[in-house]
Symmetry: C3
Amino acid sequence: MASAPLLTLLQSTIEAAATVAFALSGLLAAARKRLDAVGVCLVTGLAAFGGGTLRDVLLDRRPFFWVAHAEWLWGLLALCVGAMFFLRAQHFALTERAMQWPDALGLGLFSASGTQLALAQDLPGIVAVLMGVITATFGGVLRDIVCNEIPTALRDHSPYAICAFAGGWALVAAQAGGMPQDWSMVLAVAVATGLRVAALLSRYSLPRWTSGSDSA
Amino acid sequence: MASAPLLTLLQSTIEAAATVAFALSGLLAAARKRLDAVGVCLVTGLAAFGGGTLRDVLLDRRPFFWVAHAEWLWGLLALCVGAMFFLRAQHFALTERAMQWPDALGLGLFSASGTQLALAQDLPGIVAVLMGVITATFGGVLRDIVCNEIPTALRDHSPYAICAFAGGWALVAAQAGGMPQDWSMVLAVAVATGLRVAALLSRYSLPRWTSGSDSA
Amino acid sequence: MASAPLLTLLQSTIEAAATVAFALSGLLAAARKRLDAVGVCLVTGLAAFGGGTLRDVLLDRRPFFWVAHAEWLWGLLALCVGAMFFLRAQHFALTERAMQWPDALGLGLFSASGTQLALAQDLPGIVAVLMGVITATFGGVLRDIVCNEIPTALRDHSPYAICAFAGGWALVAAQAGGMPQDWSMVLAVAVATGLRVAALLSRYSLPRWTSGSDSA
């Protein structure tokens, strides 16, 4: 599928920035839990590649991204080593805030690409959208499980997976309506990332589920 | 393999009731942990389909149940949304007690069907039985891991996985002895579900493992 | 690939001893958490076979070790039942110390064999080494996740995964340099196990990652 070269370059750049944002979320989580060097590398890698790898296991796709692009493993290793030398606790909050924006782009891009890969296997729309959501969110879910926390994505009431869900449906609807693949991808990324950015700027919070409160 | 139509209808009904029981166990666990809407849906889906999906990943079978029957994903979504509007904390204990019976049927049915699928791949008896146990219990195990608890199935001393284990062996023995597949399935479900119901009614508890107590 | 019979026998013996050491680490963890009989068996099995099984899922290899050698499942079951009758809390510390040595051998052997399996699929060196590390360490990681702990391998600052990493690279380098497979395996085991034994004897600890300390 020939894309315009500019679009391809743009996509590669966004992908790289988003993967680094996902990786840094793992790095910060590992540092907060005071894991050792092995833990830092593993949680960083899991946050960066866990979602796409789980999707590929479920869809029975090989090779994984980090097998086909093994240079990324070297990049993550360098990132972790560099962080251990240069990252200080007072940088954590700043890093986290700065990462919100590439993270929102990654949310859009990975949910669109995960949904697209599942549609290419002729899976039903809701399964395809679910694969997009898994791609975008399960790196963080696995990161938090390994760090012995209830995953943030499941409890913080900030719309995240829901933005990926909306972006996935935008892709399914656009392709069902006959929009070319490139443009439907752009639309899906715009929907998911746009919703996420709007949620961050407005500090919107999902409605509370009050019934659980007396019974914990 | 042609089954009597009545048996097929009965099996479909039990399967649906049991899947809803598994799903509700996830929904209640998520509500108790005060997860948000995303967490409720994810933990509900994991409790309902996690065991069968893990079995299929291990046996390298595709498509998963929830891919072949994507309407179930819509059903779960509707269940979660409905529960968020109508379920109150004072209903939790009642729901949990009411769910014990379809859950016991699901334990029998899923351990029998998981064992049968593995036998159809000519796997050794103990591996087939283990696949049945995984089908019946790992939805709950994954639910508890995501909720950051030690899985109930591994620590509550109430026979659960052991009933699935016994049912699986009943199936293996019956088929080795030449019983037709339909009847050996019925026997396996009867053994596993019967043991579970007996355990619930008698409040039987597995013997304690006292040696661990001084050293935690 | 014909190995010398003595080497084959030696490898089988080490493998069996190491698998028992891995299994016992699971058994002790389960006993410390006071899990019931089901939990003890499951955590023991996960510690023994989890790493190799995850590697095989990632590499899309079948059958798993415990499917091809189902007699091992019986062996683990016997080990668990025996331990419940005979193991007492005062034996825990002694068992753990005695297990350090077969565990160090297993670390070497499983990292070498995992790396070798990935190299046989023509995967890049760093991916192959990562598969070796996963084989050697993820049984313990999964054991700790199920027991609701942050995995020891990620936080105890004792070199473990790093020894597997070094052993894997020794294998990759030796084969790239033309050393025959048998001898490069021996070298890799010697490097990984040797480093682990040296770390245990010297009580060497990985450097601290101080930046995380103020912000937990």
